[in-house]
Structure formats: structure tokens, C-alpha cells
Symmetry: C2
Subunit: 402 residues, 2 copies
């Protein structure tokens, strides 16, 4: 298949390019390197040093014996998307080219507007390019489990049967996102479902859990092939951040009471799932939603796991809760359907501690880089609009009763 | 109260300014005159001639004995919104400043992106300005009944109690909008609800039915005070378009089978309802949704009513269905709660035919202007992405069995 990856310079994008190439697909990509700028703006950098795109492409060619066709361009410009579609004629588009940060979207009005418009416009451009140039192409769109929030009922995969006043309907499951970023993903989901309905396009909308991991096997130890790993407050996801904290003997920092439950999956599982979705496209006209996660965990439970694995590697770290900069339920019901990908053959890794061991070993080699930017580990972007570092809480970490 | 009207040059905005002033409120407004440009772009103009803003403001001053403070500025620029808030310190914001056209949003990718970003950004700017400058102000946001689409179950006012797998939740009612414009309103609703939740803002989100009418009493016959009345395919709503068709002996044109049912209300009822919402604000932190309509009608039934009233005025017009340029259900269940405004004291006009008589008399004086742009009456913007005039259907108009 000819697969176009939007955001190919990113954490998932660069990994997916390699995973797909190793399976024999023809891969192209675009990026305008905004992620590198955003992380710099947050006072940080990737813990794992990453090469520039020219070197990355050379490494890719050597490893896979083929070119990755690359466009440096802004996907908010329809002309850029149109040119790519006309030249590459993709069978599938993996849209990983959005701004993926809740805190970044909460900084101020300009960041909110940027994140929402950036994410909406690129998706609209893809939908139009599909309609007019590749109507049978498959849009694999990265959404987030955060679209659903934490409702007091089970979370189905996108849709549910509801009875109301004696009549029944099959409806989209109501979303309760928790940041401007998460809402941008809801807006995108709504737009995609509508395009599929009126134009007969096909799309898989991936409600992805929180990804963690430093590598997939295809990267081996080629520094040009390694993907970025962020640990700052805005772009560092929770387990990645814990592992970066552990290697510099910084406390692991669940937010608030720390009993928040989320879906998680290792980077290698994310690649496995995205590939399954790409290789098993929906029917023409179908809009389908996959909840993409390996399992749900409490954020303190994961901190305790990182602490345990770190201990085995000789790293002695505390778990110490931080004041929660977000507004979110810290104790809640959480039960998520995630059967669609299992039905397609997804084999979850399950051994979270083994993955953490790999991560910690990788990151121990990067501890100087983390140490140099450790100020970025502690959040100051607060959901109430103020910007002030959060403080450590007195309370002792307690595992969530999942 | 000090009430700021975004889009004060528009069909609703100019009417609301006068209605509120007559009730003793202090009114300010902003506009950048995009509506005038959009209608011109669609090859049309207002059937009722309208004055420029300078003359309008003079007329307003003479009629109400007070100034309407006016800003000519683009509400997508946060600096403009911030300045207005700092200077006027509004108690309430009536946000009527969005692009309100489904067909306009369906023209091409550039129109889609424009409508969605224009509508989202202005609303985000208001939410931030409220948070930072007027946190107790009330945002009255114009949404649309079109956010809900036509689900096979009753439509509540924004939220419903749902049971799923034996657990219950109070959730936002799933939206099924039918155009990029209607989705922009859903995106806005989602953003507003979130801001109320995290920042304790208050807002009334109005799911308004289709408005019709040429005037409210406050305008008398001062040409500076009359509001615009559009009849083109993009900005002319259905009853307004029928009345314009009638006065030039053009067939009245329901789309498709013509059994679509929608909520409707006269312009004077819209003013009554918006004012009730403004004068009875929600609690601090409350996000509430009002379904704002007088009654539901089939679009053919309304055509037959216009035909009947026109006949009484000596106008002999046919009802002739047009090929439907939209993708929508032409036969569907439709039952809508609309109790909240009645509870606040809304007294619906109910005499739709009397309103049509007023409209037809007003528009008979404007028939030359409608005749001059009658090409704009027949749609060519199609939901499938093509642009081609629709043709008349053979079938005879039949009233929907409501």
C-alpha cells in the first residue's frame, strides 16, 4: 500500500514510517517541524537525541533500501495537501500531524486558537483532497481516548444504542473532553464522520490511549532512526515522564490524588494497532471508531510500577504527588470497550514492566539531557488560566483501586 | 444592562439592538460587514434596502435618544475583543457574529475552513475575554436547531438522561449536524460548555429554529432602522425565500419531497426569546441550552401557507418542488422539547399567516430588487461537492403529515 504519514517527524509518525516500511509498504510523509518548536517553547527538548530530517531520511534509506518521499510543508495549506495527493496518490493517510498537547492548548487564547484551528484545518484539507483526488483512500485519523472524558457509564467504541422515551437510536457517544486540545479532536471526529456520510469517504478514527515507550525493534540502535521522547509538562505523556524522572532521581509525580484511570499502550502496540487498521480498511463510506489501548491503569499504579522496575536497575526513586494543574476527576468510574482491534488480531504486549525496563535503560543514557531541562518536568500551565508552578503534596501515594 | 452585540449589522443583530434599546438597555455592537460581502458573493443583495452603518447609527440615535456604541472590527482578533470588553464592560454578550449559512460552508474547502475557523475563533475570543475581564458576564450564543439534525428520538434541550448497560448518566445529547456550518455551531457549543465548566462562566446556548419576518415593531418605517432580508440560496432562509419568490410570481420551491420538518419562529419571537434569555441569565458557572422555536412545520406546509396568503393579496403563485441540493432526510421523525423559554414567559405569536401577510406587503415594495437578483433564488451549491443549478421536479407539492 502507498501510505502517507502526516507528521512523520513526530513521536508516532517517525516510528510508524519504519514499522510500515519493514512490512513492505511504500511510505511518504510531510512535516513542518512544529513539534520541535513547541517543545523548545516549553523549555525542553527530546530526551533521546534525534537527528534532523535529512539524516533521518538517509538512515531510513539504508535500513529499508527504499526512499521515504518527504514534503516539508504546512498541511493547513490546501495547496500543499493537494500537491501531495496528486503526486503520491495515497491509498491511505495516517493523520498524525496535529498538535497533541492538552497543556499547550491551555496556555492562553492564542495557543487555544492555534491548536484548534491547526487541528481542524489539516483534517478538513485531507477530507477535501480525498473527495476530489483519492475518494477511495482510507483516512486513519489519530484521536484520543480523552475525547470521551470519564463518564459514569461504560465507554463504547464511538457509538451506542440508546433508548429515550420509549424510542431507540444508534447515536454517537457523547464526548466530554477535558482540554481545548481534546475538544479539537472531538471537532475533528465530528467533521470526519460527516464527510464519510455525505461523500462516501472511509475513515478509522482512533481513540488512542496514552502511549509510552522509547523505541520499536525496527529502530535498532541507529541514532538516525530513534524517535523523540518528550518529558516536559506539555508533550511528555505520563509514563514517559515518570521514566525520565526516574533516571535523574527526581520524584515520580502523579497529579492530585493520583487515582485517575486511563487507557495505556506501549509504542510498539500503537504501531501494531495503527498498522492493523491500515491493512484492514473500512468499507467505502464507513466511519468507524477504534478504542486503541492495551489496558486501563491508575496513574499512581503506573508510578509504582516504574518505581519498582527502576529499583531493580539500581535507581531509588520516590513517588510524590503534585498539586493537580488540571481540572479532572481524580476518582471516577472507567470502563472502556476495546474489542475492535482485538477482533482484527491485535496481540497486546501486556508486560508493561518489561517495556518500562527497556525505557529506563534507554533513558539512563540520556540522563544529562533530562537533567539539563528538568525544570520542564513540573507543570505551571494550569486549567484555571493562571501560570504558576504546582507544588508537591503532603500525601503519600496510594494505588488506585482499579 | 450593558449588552454587547456581535454582528450588529446582521439580520438578527440589527433587530436585537433596537428591541433591547426600546426596553431601556445600553447597547453596543461590532461588525466588520462580512455578511454584506458574502451575499454579494452569492450574486445577491438584501431584498429590503438597508442603510450603511453610519446612517443606521443616526437613525438609532433619533429613535432611541441614545448612542449605540459601535466598533468596526474583526472578532477573530483577540485584541479587538479585548479592547471592546475593557471599554464597554458588558454585562452580557449576544454573539450573533458568526457566518450563518450551510450552503456557503459547502462551496469548497476554502469556504468550509473559513466558516469553521471564523465561528470557532470568535467564540473562543469571547470566552477568554469573559474569563479575564468580565467573568460574571453572560454569553448568549446563537446556535441552531440544525446541530441536532433529525434523530429518530425526541430532541431534549441540550442534555438527556441516558441508561446504558444498567448505569445512568446525564449527558449532552448527541449532535448530527448536516453541513460544515452546522458542525461549526456544534464545535462552538462544545467549546462553550467546556469553558463554563472549567472557568465558571455562564452561557445560554440557543438552538434556534428557522427565523422568518421582515420587521419588528420598533423599526416603524424608518429605512435606516429596517433590517436586511436575504433570499439567495445561501443566506435566504426558507420562509423568507418563499415570500420573496411570491412577490415576483416565482414558484415557491421546497427541496426534494418537501416533507422535511423544522422548527420555525418569527423574527419578533426571536427577539422576544433572546431578550428573555438576556434578562434571565443563568447562574454563574451554568451552561444551559434553549431550543428556541415557536412550532415545528413541514417545509411544504409553509409553502402552502405562503401561497394562500399571497393569493389573498392578489398574488397567484405555484408551489413547485426543486431537486434537493442537500443531503438530508426528506421524511423523518421530529419531536422537539422547547419548554425552557416558555417557562421564562415566552408568548409565541402563533399566527404565522398574519406574519406572512406583513412580510408579503413589505416585500411587494421590494419586488424590483428581488427580480434583479432572482437567479440567486435557485441553488447550485450541492452537498456532493459539485456546483450546478438544481432543476424543478415533476411531482406536485403535498403537505407533510406532521
Amino acid at each position: 500500500m502507498r501510505i502517507f504519514i502526516a507528521g512523520v517527524d513526530g513521536y508516532l509518525g517517525w516510528s510508524l514510517a519504519q514499522h510500515l516500511a519493514a512490512r513492505g509498504h511504500e511510505v511518504a510523509g510531510a512535516d513542518v517541524f512544529l513539534r520541535r518548536q513547541w517543545v523548545e517553547e516549553m523549555g525542553s527538548w527530546s530526551a533521546v537525541p534525534i537527528a534532523d530530517m535529512k539524516e533521518r531520511l538517509q538512515g531510513f534509506r539504508q535500513r529499508h533500501g527504499r526512499e521515504l518521499r518527504f514534503w516539508e510543508g504546512d498541511l493547513r495549506q490546501y495547496g500543499v495537501v493537494e500537491e501531495i495527493f496528486k503526486e503520491f496518490q495515497p491509498d491511505a493517510i495516517a493523520h498524525l500531524g496535529e498538535c497533541p498537547s492538552a497543556p499547550y492548548s491551555m496556555v492562553d487564547v492564542h495557543h487555544t486558537v492555534f491548536v484548534q484551528t491547526n487541528n481542524i484545518i489539516s483534517t478538513l484539507n485531507f477530507l477535501y483532497a480525498m473527495r476530489d483526488i483519492r475518494p477511495e483512500a482510507h483516512l486513519l485519523k489519530l484521536g484520543t481516548m480523552g475525547e470521551y472524558g470519564t463518564p459514569p457509564i461504560d465507554i463504547p467504541e464511538g457509538f451506542f444504542e440508546v433508548e429515550f422515551r420509549g424510542r431507540r437510536a444508534h447515536l454517537s457517544f457523547p464526548r466530554q473532553a477535558g482540554s481545548w486540545y481534546h475538544w479539537s479532536k472531538v471537532h475533528g471526529s465530528n467533521n470526519i464522520a460527516f464527510a464519510c456520510k455525505i461523500w462516501g469517504l472511509r475513515s478509522t478514527d482512533v481513540m488512542q490511549g496514552v502511549v509510552f515507550g522509547t523505541r520499536i525493534d525496527e529502530m535498532e540502535n541507529d541514532p538516525r532512526l530513534l524517535t523523540r521522547l518528550d518529558f516536559d509538562q506539555a508533550f511528555g505523556t505520563v509514563v514517559n515522564r515518570y521514566c525520565c524522572q526516574a533516571v535523574i532521581n527526581h520524584p515520580l509525580t502523579p497529579f492530585g490524588r493520583g487515582h485517575q484511570i486511563r487507557g495505556f499502550l506501549p509504542l510498539r502496540d500503537s504501531m501494531q494497532c495503527l498498522t492493523l487498521a491500515l491493512e484492514n480498511p473500512p468499507k467505502v463510506g464507513e466511519y468507524r471508531v477504534f478504542n486503541q489501548l492495551e489496558e486501563t491503569y491508575g496513574v499512581t499504579d503506573l508510578a509504582l510500577k516504574v518505581q519498582k522496575v527502576a529499583g531493580q536497575l539500581g535507581l531509588d526513586v520516590e513517588v510524590q504527588n503534585l498539586e493537580n494543574p488540571r481540572q479532572e476527576l481524580e476518582e471516577h468510574y472507567y470502563k472502556v470497550d476495546h474489542q475492535h482491534l482485538l477482533n482484527l488480531g491485535y496481540k497486546p504486549t501486556h508486560d508493561v514492566e518489561a517495556e518500562m525496563r527497556i525505557m529506563l535503560k534507554d533513558l539512563m543514557r540520556c540522563s544529562d539531557r533530562i537533567e539539563a531541562k528538568k525544570n520542564a518536568l513540573i507543570p505551571d500551565v494550569r486549567w484555571d488560566g493562571t501560570r504558576k508552578k504546582v507544588h508537591f503534596l503532603e500525601s503519600v501515594a496510594v494505588a488506585a483501586s482499579v
